[in-house]
């Protein structure tokens, strides 16, 4: 399996900067997710790899060879489009075998390969169907089979599950990940859905406004978001507006110790933001005359909801709402809180992340 590298790619559309100095190295057989809001340039990267757009500068290398000289049809890259782009005038089997026919593979071999792929996508009897007879999930599977029919060196998917409803989307994400692992094919997926990225990826690239914010394995991105944007974009987080007093952050009258501070340029009085995931926040009973310890704030519960697998409690402290979540299976360890209850909110220093404004 080949290794895909992107070196210093820039792309402008008129005065709009779509990509600004992008560097990526995708190890052979791995799945990389480009994650970001719409318009951040992730689809442009995919189209540059495919050859459907050309970069203003920079290179795309496949196993060290520059792809610039190859037109899209000679790059040997399989691509699944967001709209599926299946051909409505052809049947399912004809769609899957389209690329094989172009390559000049014999009819018997084509039929064999199509049957094999229909088995893989678990639609063994769909070969004769028309495209407009397929459901959303089936369309998705057929477009994946068609892209994989020619056994491409690289597999690209643009928002593969965005057209599906929530339940089907999760099933498809799991199927897609299994398929990619079984084929061991170097894959790039574009998505704006962070849970899709977490499910699929070996590596996540978080992008914003044409630049890369952070690259890393999913849990690293989740646990150690390098910027405020990443922290907000991946999962839910509490973002607290504080001031820097030289060695800790101050929220109202409370001091918040932070374990690791990356930014050494901060000076006393600088506005900073402290981020902590809701599941890392701890709530303690406030009714036993207990005084708040370090990193502990007193507050009042203002909202409680139980959505079955998760209980979410919002507490107001120092004019800021802090969300806390826990799994209801751990109910015994939690306080039975209601709106209006006084509570102590603990923000453990090792889970607090600091961002300068």
């Amino acid at each position: 399996m080949p290794r895909l590298q992107i070196e210093g790619v820039n792309k402008h559309f008129g005065s709009f900067t779509a990509l600004n100095d992008i560097w990526l190295d995708i190890p052979a057989g791995k799945l990389l997710c480009l994650l970001g809001p719409s318009g951040c340039g992730k689809t442009t990267i995919l189209r540059i790899i495919a050859g459907l757009e050309s970069p203003d500068s920079g290179k795309v290398l496949l196993d060290g060879n520059d792809l610039a000289i190859l037109p899209p049809h000679r790059r040997d890259i399989g691509m699944v489009f967001q709209s599926h782009a299946l051909f409505p005038h052809l049947s399912v089997a004809e769609n899957i075998s389209y690329g094989l026919r172009i390559t000049g593979i014999s009819k018997s071999e084509r039929l064999e390969r199509v049957d094999e792929l229909l088995e893989t996508i678990r639609l063994p009897d769909a070969g004769g169907k028309r495209i407009n007879q397929l459901s959303g999930g089936e369309l998705q599977r057929v477009s994946i089979a068609r892209a994989l029919a020619r056994q491409p060196r690289i597999f690209l998917l643009d928002e593969p599950t965005s057209a599906l409803d929530a339940n089907l989307r999760e099933t498809m994400q799991i199927e897609l990940r299994r398929l990619q692992q079984s084929l061991n094919i170097t894959t790039v997926v574009v998505t704006h859905d962070q849970s899709e990225a977490m499910t699929l990826a070996d590596l996540i690239v978080v992008m914003q406004a044409g630049t890369i914010e952070q690259i890393g394995p999913p849990m690293e991105i989740y646990e150690k978001p390098r910027t405020e944007f990443v922290a907000n974009f991946i999962g839910a987080t509490n973002m607290l507006n504080c001031l820097w007093d030289g060695n800790c952050a101050v929220l109202g009258n409370n001091k918040l110790n932070i374990k690791s501070i990356a930014d050494s340029s901060l000076t006393r009085g600088d506005p900073v933001k402290v981020s902590i995931r809701p599941e890392r926040v701890e709530l303690l009973a406030a009714n036993r005359g207990r005084k708040p310890d370090s990193n502990q704030l007193t507050g009042t519960v203002e909202f409680v909801r139980n959505i079955g697998n998760l209980v979410e409690i919002h507490t107001r402290c120092e004019n800021t709402s802090i969300a806390h979540t826990y799994s209801p299976q751990n109910l015994s360890t939690e306080l039975n809180l209601r709106e209006g209850d006084a509570v102590i909110v603990h923000l453990p220093a090792e889970h607090c992340l600091l961002y300068s404004k």
Binding site: L52, P72, R74, S83, A85, F87, H89, I102, R146
Partner: protein, 282 residues
């Protein structure tokens, strides 16, 4: 109570109006023509009521069979050429930005506003010996002596193709601009060259529109009168020219009527075919 707009639309007035208009301007003249086509011609430019099929039987004479063959052959050829040029032009237009598309559409629609006489005259100048292509080719050393290309089959075919192209573009423009650009792109990702992607994906996807455009161009060129006279020799005359010739110069109204009935029936059958095909594909 005052009637609302939609009540008017669903009421009997539009239907009655359409029926009256169609009856007055189409069925009545057609019925008169159909009646005349069975009349008997009296030498000297007159005719008398009769019911004879002689005028229709003349279609199977070698002379008129040849006229029909030349007429339909010429118009088919012009329509195919126009379809080819129009399709390529529209495909490139569909890939332009909005501004480029609008400019081309304005240009093509303004071509439609030109009368056939002006178009025929322009082409006859272009194909003339002194001022046109023949003269330029002589100047460039491609011809030994300046020559005229009109009247002639090539000149007539060119002009007929020219007047049909805007119609092809107008029919092909909506389906081609609506065609998702990902279809061609996905064909390219599956190994197809740009040309192959167009032939295997775009053409089959817009097949009903292509058929409709061809038939429209064919009917339009079949009805062309000025161009064959200005740019063709008598043996290239289309059926419309022969109708005029029979009616005005040969003073044979019954036979001219029979030819007209034939032209209308052909055109209507083709239109019926279009709508049938379009219903089937949509």
């Amino acid at each position: 109570m005052k009637k609302t707009d939609s009540e008017f639309r669903s009421g009997p007035i539009p239907g009655v109006f359409a029926t009256v208009a169609l009856g007055l301007f189409f069925f009545v003249p057609f019925a008169i023509m159909l009646t005349f086509s069975f009349y008997h011609k009296i030498p000297g430019g007159l005719y008398e009521p009769a019911f004879e099929v002689d005028n229709y039987l003349r279609f199977i004479s070698p002379f008129f069979t040849q006229i029909l063959l030349i007429s339909t052959g010429l118009c088919s050829l012009a329509s195919i050429l126009a379809l080819f040029i129009g399709f390529i032009l529209t495909y490139f237009m569909s890939r332009m930005n909005k501004r480029g598309r609008t400019l081309w559409l304005i240009l093509l629609v303004s071509l439609l506003s030109l009368s056939e006489v002006i178009i025929g005259f322009s082409w006859s100048i272009l194909f003339s010996r002194t001022a046109g292509i023949g003269g330029w080719m002589y100047t460039l050393g491609l011809l030994d002596a300046p020559r005229a290309f009109a009247p002639g089959f090539g000149a007539l075919l060119t002009a007929l193709t020219f007047i049909c192209v805007p119609f092809i573009v107008l029919v092909m423009f909506p389906p081609l601009t609506r065609l998702p650009k990902e279809w061609v792109e996905s064909a390219r990702m599956l190994g197809a060259t740009p040309l192959r992607a167009v032939i295997t994906v775009v053409v089959p996807s817009v097949r009903p529109a292509l058929i409709a455009a061809f038939i429209l161009a064919f009917i339009y060129s079949l009805g062309s009168y000025v161009l064959p006279i200005m740019l063709g020799k008598p043996r290239h005359w289309t059926i419309s020219v022969h109708i005029t010739d029979q009616a005005l110069y040969q003073a044979n109204i019954p036979f001219a009527s029979a030819l007209s009935v034939f032209l209308i029936v052909t055109a209507l059958s083709l239109i019926a075919l279009i709508s049938k095909l379009q219903n089937r594909f949509t």
